[in-house]
Symmetry: C2
Subunit: 322 residues, 2 copies
Amino acid sequence: MKSNFHRPPSIVHRRIVALAGGVGGAKLAHGLAQILPPEDLTVIVNTGDDFEHLGLYICPDLDTVCYTLAGLANPKTGWGRANESWQAISNIERLGGPNWFRLGDQDFATHIERTRRIKEGQCLSEITRDFCKAWGIKHTILPMSDNPVRTIVETDEGDLAFQEYFVHRRCEPRVKGFRFNGIEKAEAAPGAREAIQSADAIIICPSNPWVSIAPILAVPGLRSKMEAKKVVAISPIIGGQAVKGPAAKMYRELGIEPSALAVAKQYEGLATDFALDKIDSHLEAEIRSLNMRTLVTKTLMKNVKDRRRLAEDVLHFIGTAS
Amino acid sequence: MKSNFHRPPSIVHRRIVALAGGVGGAKLAHGLAQILPPEDLTVIVNTGDDFEHLGLYICPDLDTVCYTLAGLANPKTGWGRANESWQAISNIERLGGPNWFRLGDQDFATHIERTRRIKEGQCLSEITRDFCKAWGIKHTILPMSDNPVRTIVETDEGDLAFQEYFVHRRCEPRVKGFRFNGIEKAEAAPGAREAIQSADAIIICPSNPWVSIAPILAVPGLRSKMEAKKVVAISPIIGGQAVKGPAAKMYRELGIEPSALAVAKQYEGLATDFALDKIDSHLEAEIRSLNMRTLVTKTLMKNVKDRRRLAEDVLHFIGTAS
């Protein structure tokens, strides 16, 4: 297959597996997809956030990654569809149905058709492959597993299903821990282990380490396949704050000062390389002492150009001799 | 309850039960609802057309009647919602999903929320009552039964589920007969028998006798409750043609010349009164010979005014001493 992707001449041909959650992960994956040819990038996406709602099988992270790579994502929110309309959900609301999870009309189509196929016996990775094709996505996007894994947030108000915590309760309850129901029996999606096996490097995208990356790493067989590899993690914490979402709040509630260093410590023993923001350069020495090479760069992705630039920086970093 | 409905002084206070299918039935029910106070009108609607599609529980006739009485129906098609958008179905189409049953975004809300409630254990009549309330419908609309009844069209191409025949195959296969799966075990919806019991008259709306009215009459216990009553049927066949849908084609394929007379014969032994269009006045004598009083009037309902006028005509007719 001849590729139309123009790799900057300074970037060595490398097979990359990116691990991603929602918005932050999707942005870097999009940057990578702008540079790497389809055969060189596999994105493995967290499905611990998946849930059933309104009778539909919803995969928030998977959809965010797909919509982003397809150029269909809402540029303002980073999730959901661009040019979205809200006829269905506002009519559901009028009928007294649950309205706390705002689904747009185009987005509903994804969930309705996915649910239909699941009921027909298709598996999530197969459906995702078909959807990617329909959306014109050439790179490989895999759910971490075809088996249901459900992230449970253990809080001071009891155990909450992830979306219940995240959307319905707006991350307000204090976090005490996490578990991933079904993870022991989850098999890695077809192709995921092979992609890691043949990858030159694994990129852990700047996604929430607790609830986006941890579930992927917990799928039996995935982490162990990464252990001999070059693994570069990009900190989702910049200047002690999460760009988006509850990561910093989670660190604090678990008694950890949120910082790029805290992220690096979480990936200790796995990440060989670590990218942190310039604003956090004072943490570089301590991160190096964890036996990681470091890249200090601009990690905030405000626009599409930023995504590509960060992806280039990370690919250059990987290409550098250690 | 004080009613805001202004009954023309010449129309006697009468409790009415109307039996209705989709568009034609909905139009007359709407005419009746413009005249009768809420406590005096119960519409019992065919659910033999109901089906599951895209994982959703869809009730085409029930929704058409509700949308029409709520003033939400598409004035051009007579079914579906006014000012509808098609984002969800066109995106399902893009994903390769089934697109032969066109569902609008607002309409999807009805099916999604109904399906959610059914899965929660609510029954169809309860859901319909709640939806009517949300849509501002004051008259009572009942599904004929809370139990699933499925109309099967027996054709020269084999048995077809109703919507498969009606929408997907556009009524093309030749009809050989009909059956209503589940009808033996179907119980009349709560309140349906009581409404008939206490009604002064039953109005059989100008709906398809084969597939809209026959299923209602076949629900155990409903027809027998009508037998001592004044029952007026309005012919859906005008000048040998159906105003809408396959009724005339069905008569022909079953070896019967479609006409108001054929309709009257179908209701022989049940209907005490029969309304036919002026264009069919030559059939009046023969219909009378079936032991039915007749009303010859303009039965075509082209606009909202026509619905009210026909409803008034029928109510006057009922009010006349026999």
